[in-house]
């Protein structure tokens, strides 16, 4: 066990150093969360526009022509603008929400506190990684305002569509270049962040905080950092090669003999499949980068409200590690039909199916934790239960898509859209919501409103099922994704179901305004939070709400036990805190 002090810097003075260019991991964590909030609002508005257009393709959207005179002349979204909205929605959500909030945001704020450190190992690198992420976001958003519009090649940016430049159509000029620059920067920030998380976890644990005693959220952030370190280290060079193809005339991803816009392209020797391999080598682990922090958050929060230890904590950690390893062996399941040798499909299918085993075990551990519990149905608890439900729903459809023989029918349909939205979108969002309601008292020193929180939960929970479950039906009926309108004869009968989804999506989106209102109100004037409102055990609840600059007021905590001591009958209640030297009661 190493005990080191990281806080070489004194408490900052002045507004800029305290709130803007802060080295404090807590401020940086909140900055990440605020960035994710701006990003998720942007991404959600884009999805409303897409959904509205799919349901009523001819109906003008008031005011949209002012935002984009070319993309939505008269308020009606053009096909290329639809694809641009889709590309920006996917990119913003995957990178700037699902990676930024649960991992960079909560991880930054709580990982150092949960291990009993005063700050991250490298506070300056930590600050840089946030600011680079912010610049990456601004560069991406800038694509909305360039001449030929935002890129339209999807968040996967398949080459050669993404590589040949403006010949490939609108958005594929400056917009696509900005996309690649943004993602490259994002990778730099994530690599810096991952190094920081790993070093902090390994080197800055306080006395008594052995690995076996680490809270599950911290375990998840730690494992996620390791995944990210490898995954982003592959995506970054891939994006740089893409930029070289676009700007420097290289041909990494572009083969010879392509005729685009009646012009024989001056490229030869590249491989479109190389991009797909590099992208998905990152892309599939990215799914786990988005969801594993959620696993950790749920595993930590569920016992608090079940008033019962988590079932099988060591099994949980083993499963998280197994998932991390397996996540690198499955990328080819995105490419069953890509033209790579069909023999490799079986090879990629097996680990894809095998990864369902640790995922199932983790799910059963949560359900087994609820068995015999004394559940307190607070808002964070409801989002934990909701998480388990939507994760099961999203995970089950993975059984279909993992099989090449079924994927040959379902690939490229709404079945896939339903699957990944449930499993990495909605489930990860439920993890973020659970974390926000749970940790708001600690981060802001104020309690969020429970009544509003519960309304938010119920409307969201029912809403997401109305939005994403029907997408599986559409996929079974062969409804192709990434279409800006359904003009095919066999797709026209599906438009009524699309209208239902759109109405559900608009309602579910509106329900998020309750959350926004609750969050803003809490931060401004919510009721003061006690130090440990939920009667939880981990170190963040041993300090004040919010914690002081150095987290523990100059007295590094000593840890005496693991985070799982709930359900006892000791004098201090049914739980024992990690920093409490008092022995656990029987029970």
């Amino acid at each position: 066990m190493t005990q080191t002090t990281a806080h070489h810097h004194a408490p900052p003075r002045g507004f800029l150093r305290t709130h803007v260019f802060s080295l404090d991991h807590k401020v940086i964590g909140k900055q990440y969360l605020d960035l994710a909030l701006v990003a998720v609002c942007t991404g959600m508005v884009l999805s409303w526009l897409m959904r509205f257009h799919l349901a009523w393709p001819e109906t003008p959207i008031p005011g949209l022509d002012r935002v984009s005179p070319n993309g939505a002349a008269g308020g009606v979204i053009t096909p290329e603008y639809y694809l641009a909205l889709m590309t920006m929605h996917g990119t913003i959500m995957v990178f700037f929400v699902l990676t930024t909030a649960p991992f960079a945001g909560f991880g930054n704020y709580f990982l150092p506190i949960q291990v009993g450190a005063e700050d991250m190992a490298f506070p300056r690198i930590n600050m840089s990684s946030f600011w680079v992420t912010l610049v990456a976001f601004l560069v991406l958003i800038a694509a909305f305002f360039v001449g030929d519009g935002p890129p339209l090649s999807g968040w996967t940016a398949y080459a050669p569509l993404s590589a040949v430049g403006k010949d490939a159509g609108p958005g594929q000029g400056v917009g696509q270049t900005l996309w690649a620059v943004s993602i490259t920067l994002f990778c730099v920030a994530q690599l810096l962040g991952a190094l920081n998380f790993i070093t902090t976890t390994l080197d800055l644990r306080t006395q008594g905080m052995s690995l076996a005693r680490m809270p599950y959220a911290t375990w998840a952030w730690f494992i996620t950092s390791v995944i990210g370190l490898v995954a982003f280290a592959v995506l970054m060079p891939a994006c740089i090669l893409l930029l070289l193809d676009r700007l420097a005339g290289t041909s990494f991803f572009i083969p010879g003999g392509l005729v685009i816009s009646d012009r024989l392209q001056p490229h030869s020797g590249g491989s479109p499949l190389l991009w797909q391999h590099l992208f998905w080598f990152f892309g599939h682990p990215e799914v786990y980068i988005a969801i594993l922090p959620g696993f950790g958050i749920i595993s930590q929060i569920l016992p608090v409200f079940a008033r019962k230890p988590l079932l099988g904590p060591r099994v949980l950690i083993a499963c998280l590690i197994a998932i991390a390893f397996l996540s690198y062996t499955v990328w080819g399941h995105h490419m069953f039909l890509s033209g790579m040798t069909p023999f490799s499909a079986t090879l990629f299918s097996v680990p894809t199916l095998v990864i369902t085993i640790p995922a199932t075990i983790v799910t059963l551990l949560w359900i087994g934790t609820i068995y015999g519990a004394k559940l307190r149905f607070t808002t964070p608890a409801l989002f934990c239960l909701g998480f388990v439900s939507v994760f099961v729903s999203g995970g089950i459809s993975g059984f279909f898509l993992a099989q090449p023989s079924i994927d040959t029918y379902l690939h490229g349909t709404y079945f896939v859209v339903g699957h990944f939205h449930f499993v990495m979108g909605v489930a990860a969002m439920f993890g973020i919501f659970a974390g926000t309601y749970f940790w708001a008292p600690k981060m802001f020193g104020r309690m969020m409103n429970e009544t509003l929180g519960k309304w938010h939960f119920w409307l969201t929970f029912i809403g997401v099922y109305c939005v994403f479950m029907p997408m599986h039906y559409l996929g079974l009926a062969g409804n192709v994704r990434r279409y800006s309108a359904f003009t095919d004869d066999y797709l026209k009968p599906m438009i009524p179901l699309h209208r239902f989804i759109t109405i559900a999506a608009l309602f579910t989106g509106a329900a998020q305004l309750i959350f926004l209102f609750n969050l803003v109100r809490t931060r401004l004037r919510g009721p003061k939070a006690p130090d440990n409102p939920w009667e939880a055990t981990t170190l963040e609840w041993s300090t004040t709400s919010p914690p002081p600059f150095d987290n523990f007021g100059g007295r590094p905590p000593v840890v005496y036990r693991g985070p799982n001591e709930y359900g006892g009958t000791g004098a201090g209640g049914d739980y024992v805190m990690q920093a409490s030297p008092q022995a656990a009661g029987p029970g």
Partner: protein
């Protein structure tokens, strides 16, 4: 609150499953020789994973219903046997499912994508481009002319970049914007992309395959019912992606021969 959650989760699980089972939205009719194996595989996966789905959701619902904090001072109950029996149970159950799906599924996949095409297949060359498909039949000589990308010219209808002036095999190639195939005869498509990625998807044929620039990808199948169906692109290819389609018409051998003769005369 626990009871409400239980009821909502149970309703969601049962209604979703009922809609799946009702086949209101389901696969269209299968017109291919291999499709029944895919449909069976999908139905079996639906049954087994559907059972897992319903059981997991109902377990969640029942526990949420039963184990709310009633402030009655009762002690918590630990899961019987702890995590180990559950881990063993899950590993065996899901492991068996994984093995079963892999063994059966790989066979289905191999039967479509890993078996060589029938040597007597009707070979048709397919070119995908932003935002259309073109199909090329070899003509009377049974041989395709070589393709030269630099000769591709949309204006004159030279979609494949043929060189009939110098290449005698190209002179009788028949190029058309829609696909016609004879019933019950193996068909071998060779897929080429002129510009960016595209895909060939006919839900009724239960087949989907990407076109990749720089590669010529073989795809073979046999249609077993006459009829006309849409071929759609499922790989994002640009602004007209949603509108990129052609038709495949499955016809009797006699009709097909007649159709091909008429097309040859039009060239």
């Amino acid at each position: 609150m626990g009871k409400l959650f239980a009821v909502v989760v149970a309703i969601i699980a049962l209604v979703s499953t009922a809609i799946f089972a009702s086949h209101i939205w389901w696969l269209p009719v299968d017109i291919s020789a291999h499709g029944h194996a895919i449909d069976r595989q999908l139905t079996e996966t639906m049954a087994t994973s559907g059972a897992l789905f319903v059981l997991s959701q109902l377990a969640l619902a029942v526990f949420a219903w039963r184990y709310g904090d009633r402030k009655d001072g009762r002690a918590i109950k630990l899961f019987p046997g702890g995590a180990t029996p559950m881990v063993v149970f899950a590993t065996i159950l899901v492991g068996a499912e994984v093995l079963a799906l892999t063994f059966v599924g790989s066979k289905v996949w191999a039967g479509i994508y890993q078996t060589p095409p029938d040597p007597n297949s009707l070979q048709i060359d397919v070119q995908a481009e932003q935002f259309a498909f073109y199909f090329r039949y070899p003509g009377a000589d049974g041989r395709f002319g070589a393709v030269h990308p630099e000769r591709i010219d949309e204006g004159s209808g030279n979609f494949f970049g043929l060189d009939p002036a110098n290449d005698t095999t190209a002179r009788d190639d028949i190029v058309v914007p829609s696909l016609a195939i004879p019933i019950n005869r193996p068909v071998l498509l060779t897929l080429r992309a002129k510009d960016v990625n595209h895909a060939f998807y006919v839900p009724e044929l239960r087949i989907q395959q990407d076109f990749v620039p720089g590669l010529v990808i073989p795809l073979h199948f046999t249609a077993t019912q006459v009829g006309k169906h849409e071929i759609v692109c499922t790989q994002l290819c640009g602004l007209g992606h949603y509108n990129m389609r052609a038709y495949v018409e499955v016809m009797s051998q006699e009709q097909f021969d007649q159709w091909l003769k008429e097309r040859a005369a039009e060239q």
